[in-house]
Structure formats: C-alpha cells, structure tokens
C-alpha cells in the first residue's frame, strides 16, 4: 500500500556503514555471483577484483563488485572465513554468501551498504557473523573449488576434468518461505522451544460489542502442546459463547433480540513451519441452533510466540463465522505488540439485518515469566466506521506453561 517513493531496500533491511579498509572496489570484471568456482588455493587473499570491508569484530565482508560501485546497485555480499575442507580437512578460506546489499552511498574510502537479510540482526545473522573459524561447513558455505568430475574419454579410458573457473553461476531458484534471503533455513518451531516448555494451559475470555446490543462474549479453556517433532502446535479446548442476535418480529414488534448461546469442544493443529504454516481444526458442540460442527483454517507466517502474522477463518455452524488478521511484532524477547482485525457475522442474525461487522484492536502480549504469558486486546467494533455506533472490544488470555 506504499503510495509514495519507497526506499530501494525492501522491507526490513538495515543500513550498515562499512567504513574501514579499502572500501571502494578497484576496477574489475568480477561477476556479481558467489565465487564458488574459483581455483583451489590454500592462500586465498581477498580478490583484488572485489571490495573488502572490515567489520568491528574483525570479520571481513567482501562485496563482489564490478567497480565502480554506484549507489542503487545491488550486490551480493560475502563473509570471508576459513573452514576445514570437507574432503581433506585442510583449512580453506572461502566466501560465504551473507546477503544482498544495495549500495546507498560511496564516499572517500567508505561505502555504505544497505544490507538485506540475513545481516539484519536476526538469529541466523548473528550465527553467521559469530561463526567460529573451525566450525563445520554449512550448506551455504562452500569450498572454493568443486571436486573434479570424471568423464569418459574417447578411447574408453577416463580422464579427470576439472570444472572450468569460468563456469556460469548457478541460477537461484525461488526462495522457499522457510528460508531467508541468504538461503539460511529459518528452522521450525521445534528449533525454538518456548522457554523450554512443551505444554500449556490457556484460558481466554472477552467481549466484542457491535454497538447494537448484539455483541459476543467468548471464553475458552484449552490445553496446548508444542511437540518435539511433528506438528508445531496441537491444541484442544472447550468454548462457551454468549451473545444476542436480532430476529424478525411478529405482530406489532418489527424485530427483537434472542440469546445466541453455544458450547463446543474444538481442536487446532499447526504445521511446524515458521516461514509459512498451515492451521486447521475441527470442533463440535450444541447451541441455539442445535447440534453443530465448526471448523478452522488459516495460515501463519512467523513463529507463533514471536513476530508473526496469522490469518484465520473460523466457522461455527449456524451461528456464523469470522475472519481474523492478527499481526504481532516482538519488540523485546518477552513483549509483543500488534494489531488485530476481524470481520464476520458472528453471531448471525435471523432476518433482513446487516450481518457483517468488523472490529479492530491493539494487542499486547507479555511473558511475565518463563511459564506465564498474558495477552490483552482492546479496541472497537461495529457495522460501520462510526464511533457513535461502535461497541467496545476487550479480551485477554492467560497461558501457564510447564
């Protein structure tokens, strides 16, 4: 929805002033790709065809650049480090892809790069920058020479053929949702146990008014499990729903209100992905309309207990359904703030009344301890964007983990 001139760096990127060493590249023709096919050598000094910049902690960043660098250009940035060659154990210096950078400014001996991920301060970035020199090679770090490829010769004998240093770079495929820009796997929820707790009891309650006496009270109690493997989250619970809904009147009364009440048991299962997770669930219960089933489908991007966006659609049989968009930003390890918006027809009225209503709320989630989380949400809702016709929305959740 950006309508004005956006900065060239997409989304959450960071500008890092790299102001040490011979920053500006010498003239070169080095390709803007990972130098994975350079000849093998034990003494691999930074290529004279690339810019080298020193970080404060001594780490060396290399910008493969066809100099001169121009502001606005996008360059691949590599971290120079030495690691054992997986073939013979000898220490080989290599370049590891450390993200995309866009040249913001070039000055006298200084180049400023706006680095996209993974150097933006997330866990994967820190791991890359602090990687010890003798750490095992990772999937994104490669020795500088590929192993020789044996090809049959014309006379029937085999002759070794070394891959040419001029071999074209491998084309990047689409980045999976579960990987960042550097190709580093984001992992899944199993990699990040929430304070080491695997199970939780969760109690929620609240009220969503609509300004017309047909709001909805909702309370749940659930048992939540984060398995060590398999699904990312499994939750079962019971729910009570109380509200009023409008109905067409008879005789002199043109309309009236009747209770909308339901009780149900429900379940929810999340897939383990963090980049993109699928959410599903089923439930059954009894309400004003009799026995009914309910369903839940959704998507989540991000860790469920950290920065994430969740889109959910819940249908509760004849009582109606609701679509919710819930986004939260982890401003601290133990504090998340965000916004939530819901649209739907819960509870569904009987007759020619407006059904769809929306509510919006600010959300605050705080980990009061390693075993306790409190979530609070407050806002307004209704059938129109008129404060006079709006009802209040307030709800909360308390989660106790063990």
């Amino acid at each position: 929805m950006s309508r004005t001139a956006c900065p060239p760096i997409p989304l959450a990127a960071t500008v890092i002033a790299l102001a040490a060493g011979p920053a500006v590249a010498a003239p070169s023709t080095a390709p803007d790709t990972a130098p994975v096919s350079a000849p093998p050598t034990e003494d691999v000094s930074p290529s004279p065809t690339a810019s080298e910049v020193l970080l404060a902690d001594g780490a060396r960043l290399i910008v493969a650049a066809a100099a001169p660098l121009w502001p606005g250009e996008r360059r691949s940035v590599y971290l120079a480090e030495a690691r054992p060659d997986p073939r013979d154990g000898s220490l080989v210096e290599g370049w590891r892809y450390a993200g995309d950078g866009r040249v913001v400014w070039v000055g006298e001996g200084v180049v400023e790069l706006a680095l996209a991920y993974p150097l933006a301060g997330d866990a994967a970035t820190s791991a890359i920058l602090r990687a010890p020199l003798d750490a095992a090679p990772t999937a994104v770090w490669m020795p500088q020479a590929p192993p020789p490829v044996e090809v049959p010769a014309a006379d029937g004998l085999t002759a070794p053929e070394v891959q040419s240093a001029e071999a074209p770079p491998r084309r990047e495929g689409p980045r999976a949702f579960g990987r960042d820009r550097g190709g580093v796997a984001l992992g899944d929820v199993h990699d990040a146990p929430f304070y080491g707790r695997g199970a939780a009891l969760r109690v929620t309650g609240g009220y969503a008014g609509d300004g017309f006496d047909s709001g909805l009270g909702l309370g749940t109690a659930s048992w939540r499990v984060r398995p060590a493997r398999g699904p990312g989250l499994v939750e079962v619970g019971v729910e009570g729903l109380w509200g009023q809904r409008w109905l067409e009147g008879e005789g002199t009364e043109s309309y009236g209100l009747e209770p909308a009440v339901a009780y149900r048991v429900w379940s929810r299962v999340d897939s383990p992905g963090v980049g993109l997770a699928v959410i599903g669930g089923l439930g059954a219960g009894v309400g004003a309309e009799g026995l009914g089933v309910s369903g839940l489908v959704g998507l989540r991007s991000g860790h469920p207990d950290a920065t994430r966006v969740e889109v959910l659609y819940e249908a509760r049989g004849g009582l109606g359904g609701r679509l919710s968009l819930d986004g939260r930003v982890a401003v601290r390890d133990a504090l998340r703030v965000g916004a939530r918006s819901r649209v739907g027809d819960l509870p569904r009225h009987d007759g020619a009344f407006r059904q769809l209503r929306a509510d919006g709320a600010a959300v605050l989630a705080a980990d009061l301890g390693s075993s306790l989380t409190l979530e609070l949400a407050a806002g307004a809702g209704g059938y129109d964007l008129l404060w006079a016709d709006a009802g209040f929305v307030a709800d909360g959740a308390l989660e106790v983990r063990w």
Partner: protein, 192 residues
C-alpha cells in the same frame, strides 16, 4: 491506540515506515491515506491503514515479501477492516520489483471492495548520495469506487547512513481533463 502501540513497537523493533498522503481529483474524489507499518523478521510487515475523504476506512495490514531470484521479488499485502457506509471489507495489494541496476522496475495492483482498485508502475532511479527518484504512473478508482483516474507522480527519496529515510511525492491527474487535481505524499521510516 493501535497506531500508538504500533509506533512504540516499531520504534523498539527498529524498522518501520509511516506515510501520509492526500490526493484530490477535483470534485468529490479526494482522499487521504495514513499507513503505519512495523517491519520485523524476514520480509514481514504489520501495519494499520487509515483512509479518509470520500470513503473513510480503517484497516489492519500484513505484508510479506518474497525474493524469487536475486533480482526479482514479489510482495503481497492483506488488508482487513472497516469502511464507512460500506461495512467490513477485505482487500489486497500485490507488487513486484525487478532490479535492473541501476534502475529498479516496480509494479503493483490492489483492490479493496467498497474502496476501489488501483494499479501503478514505474521505476526507482538512484541519483547518488542516498538520493533517488521514483516516477510512477497510476490508474485508480480510489477512494469511492468511481471512474478510473489516471495520475502521474514523481517522488524523491533519501536514505541516510543511519538507516533513516524519507520521501516526498507530487502527483497530478484525474478522471478527465476537466476533473484533475493534485496529490502530495510524505513518508519516512527507518530500515532495519
């Protein structure tokens, strides 16, 4: 309250953007937009979008960017909220960016029932020293679902060494030569 908390969150998280815009098409079609977004994690944005004018609205937004190749990325945004005199609405924005150094080619389309649809295309051209120009051509029915209006816009932006950036944009256009009006937009934020 939402905006306040999002601003606090954005300041803590480090990456955020704020945008305020006013667009007039001479006559009943006029609208203002304020969009506050917090960015955190790989390519994830969470925000609140407020629209005023012909068709006011208040929506929560969530966007995700995906780099399909080294030079090509796509972005999708979901918008859920309320429009005045229309009721709840669910919309989207989808865009792409092709990096052809030194230019970036960008295009985006979006639709929000009750508000209208919009599309834009243009380039981001760096000027040096952190400055850049962003010419755009837009076709939109915002905000009031009226006849399509064509607008030409020119934006300038600056990215500072500390990651703070700001942008200004001026535009002109309308439904026809008799119904044209100006538009201005200002945005700022910090990349993280």
């Amino acid at each position: 309250m939402n905006a306040l908390l999002m601003m606090i969150g954005a300041a803590w998280a480090g990456g955020f953007s704020a945008e305020v815009a006013y667009t007039s098409a001479y006559g009943p079609d006029a609208y203002g937009v304020s969009h506050l977004q917090a960015a955190h994690g790989p390519d994830l944005e969470i925000g609140v979008l407020g629209v005023g004018g012909t068709q006011p609205g208040l929506l929560a937004t969530a966007a995700r960017t995906l780099a399909l190749t080294e030079r090509f990325e796509v972005r999708g945004e979901l918008q859920v909220g309320m429009l005045r005199a229309f009721g709840p609405s669910l919309g989207f924005d989808a865009g792409c960016r092709l990096s052809l150094a030194p230019l970036d080619v960008v295009a985006e389309v979006g639709a929000l029932p009750g508000m209208g649809a919009r599309g834009a295309a243009g380039v981001d051209a760096p000027l040096g020293g952190g400055w850049g120009l962003s010419p755009r051509l837009r076709l939109e029915t915002w905000a009031g679902d009226r006849d399509p209006a064509l607008r030409a816009a020119l934006g300038a932006r600056h990215v500072g060494p500390s990651g703070w950036w700001f942008g200004l944009e001026a535009s002109a256009g309308g439904r026809d030569v008799l119904h044209m009006g100006p538009g201005v937009a200002a945005s700022f934020g910090r990349m993280r």
